[in-house]
């Protein structure tokens, strides 16, 4: 789980928060509801996750319940990888 979180954190910092101190992006920092990730940015992140983890994310799974924080996203990815989502 921690490795997945780090992958996501690195990607979000690099792509969407350039110049931001890594310490400001916590596991529970809101991403979607704070506006850090727009829907277009979320789609870009999802495309990265699908390619990196060989998972497939359905349209109905892309809401804030799964994509509002590093912790939420990592948990979703792990569930997907284990075939539980």
């Amino acid at each position: 789980m921690n490795e997945v979180k780090e992958d996501i954190r690195s990607y979000v910092l690099q792509e969407f928060l350039p110049g931001e101190s890594p310490s400001n992006l916590q596991d529970d920092t809101p991403l979607r509801t704070s506006g850090i990730l727009s829907s277009v940015a979320t789609l870009q992140l999802i495309t990265f996750l699908e390619e990196h983890y060989k998972i497939e994310v359905e349209a109905h799974e892309t809401g804030v319940e799964n994509f509002d924080s590093v912790a939420d996203i990592a948990a979703f990815v792990v569930r997907k990888k284990e075939g539980r989502s």
């Binding site: 792509e15 350039p18 727009s38 829907s39 277009v40 979320t42 789609l43 999802i46 495309t47 359905e58 349209a59 892309t62 809401g63």
Partner: protein, 383 residues
Amino acid sequence: MLDLELTEDQRSLQNAAIEFARSRLECPDIARRDRDEEFHREGWRQCAEFGVLAMPVPETYGGLGHGPVDMIAAMEGLGYATRDQGLLFSINAHLWTNSIPILAYGTEEQKRKYLPRLSTGELIGANAASEPEAGSDIFSMRTRAERRGDCYVLNGAKTFVSNAPVAGLFVTYATINPSLGALGVTAFLVERDTPGLHVGRPMEKMGLRTSPMAEVVFDNCEIPLAQRLGREGRGVAVFESSMEWERGCILANCLGVMRRQLEECIGHVRARRQFGKPIGKFQSVANRIVDMKVRLETSRPMVYRIGRLKERNLPAMLEAAVAKLYVSDCYVKSCLDAIQIHGGYGYMTEQLIELELRNAVGSSLYSGTTEIQRNIIAAALRL
């Protein structure tokens, strides 16, 4: 012009396109057709016969299997040799918003069903994406796609749909849920005779008037599941890939026009005499010609670079936005220079120079406005 970018085959292809356009797309009545907003159906048929519509489609699906640089070379040649830029605009809309996305995202069944007919020109493609309240903010679209059993039901209205009055196929974007934003956008292949699809009256434009455009309304329009293009909620990827191609290749026509204009203006300033000498001897006139030459020489590598990147399957979003922003600006400026160089005659419609200026203005609007290109570039620079 020394051509460092093209292979021998590509130069031959471009020359063939020039010869074809000169002999088959010659349109002495272009001023009338522009005034009447008349689509050149015979020109479309001739272009299909020449193979333009089949160029980017693999032979497996009835095409000729040419690469992006070939396409750019051919389009530059066509732009150079015909004044019917509206026809070429329609061809671009057809290729980059229909053939290419179907090739990239279509199922095998969809490819076999549509690509051969798009390649022969029997089927004309249109792109139904923009909406009255979702222009540059395209992914805030309101047209709904509601899943009902084995079909989707489309409801909503699209505007600025190029080719709509003559199209047989509409690549249409709708959202499965507006609250999802870009994540809800889904692409569909909608045939013209689908019940519930209504094409509105043609929209009158400032330029590119021989390329027909209309609004399209979807009123409980039932689309079988098999007509979805790509995955549900992934219409943005379909749209972006088609725009990347379009931004690159649609500018190739503009290069051709700029090249022709430059040659015509040079001929004019050498022949036209005022105050006892050719007007090209006046520095203020010569400087305009110099600026036109510099714009053309700096624009060409940008457009061909997109082709080279696409040929290697590399992303070209940033490069396409840079080229679109720069070349469209150069195109408009060179048209204005061409008018100024011709003086009062350049302002007269019969000279057809003002026609090209009106066409050129569209280039700063279609396929994403100049302002949107700046946003794309800024985002790519992570600003």
